[in-house]
Subunit: 293 residues, 6 copies
């Protein structure tokens, strides 16, 4: 059931095949799209090309431009934009600080983390905003250092809410679930807790195989269950403190990133990085659009 998904070379080849149906504008780089679509199937990639053609038509582009491809990729991977959604100012503000929190904690832990591609508070699919990472390559080996950093990134949003609003919201629910699943896998499957050691503690497996259902349950003792719980909570707690610490130390810069989001709705990963080094968003954008500099 876990099909063999194409790797980066395979994805580029598939994109090229489907791109023969459309006219690509100069600068449209299928290799970049291939890098930015790990985990996509051939059908997903065909859908991206088709979607890009539709978007280009709606934008009255004669040829499919790189921006059309990227919007098609985002839509396919994260859902349709929902610009029409009426959000209260306070909710927009919470969203901006939440996303800025993810982005700041991610950027400050480079290179252990994936680079931030862009941060946005334009609602898309089920989410009010999103911080998108664009992996530079397919990742076959996932080290403990990467997962540890990722846990802190996942808590960047909640930590930012807590620090700036003294209130927290249910919006971190998915981050919490994802972080718990990662921490659980680290402890019970990947052997990444020194205290528990390299043992598999997965509780139940179900295979449905030719109509046969095989359940294997290993009843852990209460003592083991307690130790597993304790290790997961230690990892989560460490990551959350890490996120709060990074945000507290970069409080003013995060504030500026959040304000930039409220002003421009979307900020690129590069802009986040430069703002963390002290630059101002308006200066960055002014320079970017300056003809020579």
């Amino acid at each position: 059931v876990s099909l063999d998904l194409p790797d980066v070379k395979g994805r580029e080849a598939i994109l090229k095949v489907h791109a023969k149906k459309i006219r690509l504008k100069e600068g449209a780089n299928l290799s970049t799209i291939a890098r930015g679509t790990p985990g996509c199937s051939g059908a997903d990639l065909e859908a991206i090309i088709n979607e890009a053609a539709i978007i280009a038509t709606m934008r009255s582009h004669e040829e499919v431009a790189m921006e059309d491809l990227e919007e098609a990729r985002d839509k396919t991977m994260f859902g349709r934009q929902k610009r029409s959604r009426v959000m209260e100012d306070q909710e927009r503000k919470i969203t901006a600080y939440h996303e800025a929190g993810h982005a700041v904690v991610a950027e400050l832990q480079r290179p252990a983390t994936e680079p931030v591609h862009k941060v946005t508070i334009i609602p898309r699919g089920m989410s009010l905003g999103s911080t998108m990472s664009l992996p530079e390559r397919d990742r076959y080996i996932v080290p403990r250092s990467y997962l540890t950093a990722l846990l802190a990134v996942l808590f960047g949003g909640r930590a930012s809410e807590e620090i700036f609003f003294k209130d927290i919201s249910h919006g971190a629910r998915d981050d919490i679930r994802k972080a718990t699943e990662i921490a659980r896998a680290m402890v019970t499957e990947y052997g990444m807790s020194d205290k528990m050691g390299p043992i598999a503690f997965s509780d139940s497996q179900e295979h449905l195989f030719l109509g046969r259902e095989i359940t294997r349950t290993s009843h852990h003792s209460e003592e083991t269950a307690r130790q597993i719980d304790s290790e997961i909570r230690r990892m989560i707690s460490t990551a959350y403190e890490k996120a709060k610490d990074l945000i507290t130390k970069n409080r003013e810069k995060l504030k500026k990133i959040a304000e930039a989001l409220l002003k421009y709705e979307t900020v690129t990963g590069e802009e986040v990085a430069r703002m963390l080094k002290g630059e101002e968003i308006d200066a960055i954008r002014a320079n970017a659009s300056a003809p020579t500099a």
Copy 2:
């Protein structure tokens, strides 16, 4: 399965489409109805328009008035009125104090809570009375402060029964279940218990997907289960004390609201708010119907 329900703009548009079939009286405001129907699907909204037309006909209205739309909305969302139901005086009295309790605790915690729309002891659907809130907008972010206040509102009915009758009834069963579910979600899904931290403790998930059943159970240790129980009980207990405290401090005013309900059956949220400031229901109503003032 969780379909993408229309937001407030979408609802207003849908209501307008269906309203083309009927004649609306001046003052009938579809935008207000749209605001007051969060969570409704397109089919629900169509049903409201159709129901309003029927109600108007039964009331011999030439055109569909705002009051017809509101009754249609209430019937669709809360069930049909059951005026014929014979209730004993004591049961009517308990119901009035129960509903007044909800309303008072809700109003006194403004703006953390939704505004009270109206309180009534006219039986509708399965309930003997109801306190209806009408959210001013779609809510995308649910903060801890809102949920904490909501818990106290849910216990307002039971607390009022306890204070005024020294006996309690099974009528708070649904409030108790709802409050427990919210408190459980706060502790085990939303990471809103400082003691438990931002971890997901959901016990089991079952997806039925193309005939496949996948069950993932994370066996918590007894120690973790005990801490979760303890946190849920602490939240519930705090909320219940909050409700009792607010009611005790406003004992005489609540009594007047309950008496108003026994006299007039329905009291608006605005009237509740003014009675909490010391005004008398008869005075309010007299003024309201006074031509100039």
Copy 3:
């Protein structure tokens, strides 16, 4: 699935519709039957009318009398009489004291309890005897005081066996199960245990909905389970002691009621009440049949 059953007004209306097919004797009061059939569906009520017609025919009545309606109601709600059943004297005696125990504990707790309609040791359906209550009205609110009294009524039968025979039988099995279910609901659903507070502790729910089975289990900790058990046992124990206390204090009167049952097989609720005040069954019945008094 929980259909909306007719209330007392609805039941009377339904009875009247079906009664058009039959001839009612003067004094046959459909309103009384309507009051005495809470929880009955329209189909149940139709069955009662049909049954009454059959009973009247078998009794060679020209018209359907009140007694035919009452027998039809009892048969529909409690099962067919089994007069043919051969019971040993000792078993008849145990049954009489058991039922008298229920009746005495019910009557002595008035008005917290429903009034006793009649007590009988004529076997009906699966039971050797029965104590029937006839609620005076539909009950929409169930207070803690009512449930507490009901628990003691349920234990009246067993307590009487224990006091008069020094032996107990398995005949209280259904009373025990019903009492345990009520006490469990009081503690885990209605929030009626002060120690546990207003929390829902229901362990599992199963809905079968369009072929989908959704199970939600909230794993309580052992500590919580122990407290719930302890509260249920405390409530049961208190109720059982209450029943024993009431019977011990009315030992001689209960004995006379049981003897009346052995002699006349059926005793009315009113007779039970009067015997508890010191009257003798033969005197009551003599007076009743006396022309003037």
Copy 4:
């Protein structure tokens, strides 16, 4: 699903209907057979009459005699005789002492127990021997004193093996299971343990009803489970000691009953009772066949 089985009057009537097809010898008493077949359905009773006719034919009886009816009843209720089975002397001896143990403990506890009908070491169905009780009437009320005595009867076989052979066998497996089920019901359903009180502790119920499966599980705490276990073991242990005590005190008499079984294969309940009073089996039988005495 629990059909309403005929009571003793009903059984006699059913037997008479089916007996019209056959010729009954004088002395064949259908009323006795009706008393001795509690729990039998109409179909069972018809089978007994048919079987009796076949047995009579095989025995070349012109008419169906009482002995044919009794053998037919035994075969229908306990299974076909297996006289051909080759049993080792030691196994026959163990069986004789095992059955004698049941019979002695039953007889010595009269009238709390049902009277013994007969004891036999002729294999029948799955059992090597059997002690049959023939209730004198249908039992509608089961007192604690009866169940307590029954527990001791069930352990009479095992206790006898232990006392006479110093070894025990797996042959008491069914007695043990039955006794455990009775003790469990006494503690968890009938409220017959003073320590646990009148509470229902049944763990799970499954009803299969129109394709719907409803499971209700009440999770007891470990403390409650421990107390239940302890009470069941106390009841079992008391009953087993009772059985051993009765056998030890009647050791020589039991030995004579067992030897009578080894000699005659079947001994009647009356003979057991008389041997317990000191009579010898050969004397009893000699008297029985003596013409006048």
Copy 5:
């Protein structure tokens, strides 16, 4: 579902019926085969006769000899011989000592155990070797003394490996499972643990009966579960020590039996018994083939 299998008389009769189709050589004793096939169904017995005819043909026998019948019985009950299997010398050696261990522990506990029929290291079915017991008769009563001895026999193989090779193998897996099942039944079903007493502790039963599944689970307390575990382990441990003790005391003799197995592949139970008395295999066999002695 547990069909009524034929007893020894029945088996002999069935064998005789099917043997009418073949020509039996003088000395072929169907009565011996009948004794040696307890638990076989009529179909099994027919298969043995047919198989014997085929074996006789393959061996160019004119008539079916006793040896053909025995090989047919072994093949039907234990699986086909696998002489072609290439086993390493070390594996053959381990197998020889393993089987010799079973045989020695069985023989030394006579008459509590069944007599050993033969021991072999010729692979058959799934096993590398086997020690076959041939019960002298159908066993209807299984005493504790027999089961206790059988536990030690089952551990004879593992104990021998441990003593002679200082290493143990997974080859005892089936012995361990079987021994655990027996010990568990002794403690939880047969009431053979004095500490637990005559109580049934079976955890779950599933009957599939006309499409209905009935599960009855009695939740034991943790304390009871711990005592059961402890009793099972005590029984297992005692049996294993018994096996080691018997082997240590007969170390040299077992070694000679194992060497005999490596030399001749199969040794009879009688030879095992005589070697345990000090005779040498070659002497036994020389005498056996000696014409007169």
Copy 6:
């Protein structure tokens, strides 16, 4: 369902039958392939021959050479090579040290372990690299010493990552699961934990047999579960320390083997053995290709 797979003789015979369809080059040794395919079915073996023919054709070989057969065997047993996969240098390096770790720990524990056939960092199927063992014969008896050594081999990869990179990756997930399953079987099925003794502790078995599902669960006590967990963790921990110890003592040699893998992608088991004795890979290969030496 567990079919009887062919043993080494059977496999060679099956290979020869299918090889009749192809032309084998001199030196192609089917007997070696037969030895190297334990656990393969007849269908697997036919697939290997067919695959070898295709590989030979793609390589423009006139006849099927030994190298074609070996590649066909590897592909059938471990999956298709994925040379196209783009791996980062760091990931290639981690893979090389991981595989070298497995190989070194395996080779250093000879002869308790199977000999290493070859080590490779060419991705194949789902794995980034692999260390293949080629058993010299079918193994029918699995001693504790073998399993203990195998546990250390499984942890060789993770231990090497930890020692050389101070970071660990999720790449050991499958090793961890396999090691845990082996340790669990040793403790709970093979009786190889001296502390737990020869008892079967398997928790649940499910057989699906003619549509019947039989589940037998033996509820262990918490104490037993704790001891089992503790024994498994002790075994795992001992094995992991063993692996780290062997690698630490052969740190420089392992480094050279990993570097050889990075240079040549594949290293044979013999080369691993010689490098562990101090030889250099280039010298080994130079000598190997030297015409005379």
